[in-house]
Assembly symmetry: C2
Homo-oligomer: 257 residues x 2
């Protein structure tokens, strides 16, 4: 059975301070936990009520510690309005990357994206379009925020998310063969742009866009054209929507080849 | 000054039941209210604190009734965590459409979309891509839900949202010249599809997709290809993300012509 200390520890993981201290995060629900068990992430334990169906978890080749608890305890540790029967605790991994892998592929850079739902959705978009790395500025919403984890719907099992100093990262990789893309109202029409199979795609903050430090480092400015181009429209698209349109267009180019 | 009855009425508009009864809805914040004042929507009144800046509203050619209130009262009627200085009440319009307009353009159909953020985001996407009509099934989240209204960010000023029986609507319009599109895992690759300049684009419920009643009415099944196609990926894209990729691709076709 679960101990009071474990309940206290897991509840504390709702706050970034304690996630950073213990290097642990929480994932809830059968599908999400199952997907994360399939990844390289290290599972600490799975808390479950006596009604839980553990069969899928038992298929994992990982050595899982199961801890039973009362439904009332599960409610205490859950971040969901309607808790499932299962809550898993995973270790926060070290974030590292292979330079050669970055040099030969597309990565997404998130410059202070604030909304947990947007980060979760963008991880799903990256997963769908085979983009294996997302680099986040230090001020981007925390990946291990329970709302982000739930919004990724398991895509996190396949996409690496790394927090780092973005201007430094861009300066390190940018080259004539490795373009840095960003969306701007004064950019080139996305549909008519030359899109590479490697490079960085920068998505800016929901309100402020790409920061003044990163802007001068973008060497391929793109614009998603509104339609018809001469008609009044919304001032901007949501950041995850813009990200999805841009990623789809990059992959369409490769698809045609 | 605002009366207690007015505070009670406006607070009640958070619930659909009272919005339906009074045929009124609430919009908050300078930018959103200004955009809606520019539209055909009829404004009932604008509630504001004494610190509010009414200058932009006064430029409107509408005859606006301003009602001053204390900040504490504004907090009571606001749906936002951090209320602005201004809250407007608008009349819910009759929803009607011109058949000839529908016949000659693209419209989006939402089949039981449940999340207020998704509906708001899809209205912004429609606005961006010049899609003037969104038809919603009766079980789609209510447009006048404060979360939807705030998420539209003013796009509602240019996009008509109409609740109706979708199978009936589709049966009325479908023809060899008027295709009905939907996204399915077994659909044709979006990037290689023949996309029309008129027709319906159906987006399904977040969990269940397109309903069994509508599915047989879709005569052009589309699929947004994941990349690379042979790699494991997320099971699906978020509905507003899928909607944005599809709409962008429709408009790219017209852009090239």
């Amino acid at each position: 059975m679960i101990s009071k200390n474990q309940i206290k520890l897991i509840s504390s993981l709702q706050k970034k301070k304690f996630r950073d201290q213990h290097l642990l995060f929480v994932a809830e629900g059968y599908k999400l936990i199952f997907d994360l068990l399939e990844s390289e992430l290290e599972n600490k334990y799975i808390i479950h009520t006596k009604h839980a169906d553990k069969s899928d978890f038992l298929k994992s080749d990982k050595n899982i510690e199961f801890i039973e608890c009362e439904a009332s305890d599960l409610k205490k540790i859950s971040n969901l309005k309607t808790p499932s029967d299962v809550v898993a605790v995973f270790k926060i991994p070290n974030s590292n990357y292979e330079e050669t892998e970055i040099n030969s592929s597309l990565s997404i850079l998130l410059d202070d994206v604030q909304d947990p739902g947007n980060l979760g959705t963008i991880i799903r978009i990256a997963d769908w379009f085979g983009i294996n790395h997302i680099f986040c500025s230090k001020n981007t919403v925390d990946l291990y925020n329970p709302k982000v984890i739930q919004a990724t719907m398991g895509a996190l099992a396949r996409v690496k998310v790394i927090y780092t100093d973005l201007p430094k990262l861009v300066s390190k990789f940018v080259s004539p063969q490795f373009p840095v893309y960003g969306t701007f109202l004064e950019g080139e029409t996305l549909y008519k742009s030359d899109l590479s199979t490697q490079g960085f795609i920068i998505m800016g903050n929901e309100g402020k866009g790409i920061s003044p430090e990163l802007k001068p480092l973008v060497n391929k400015k793109l614009f998603i054209p509104n339609f018809p181009t001469d008609q009044a429209t919304s001032e901007s698209l949501n950041v995850s929507v813009a990200c999805s349109i841009v990623c789809s267009e990059f992959r369409r180019h490769q698809f045609q080849k």
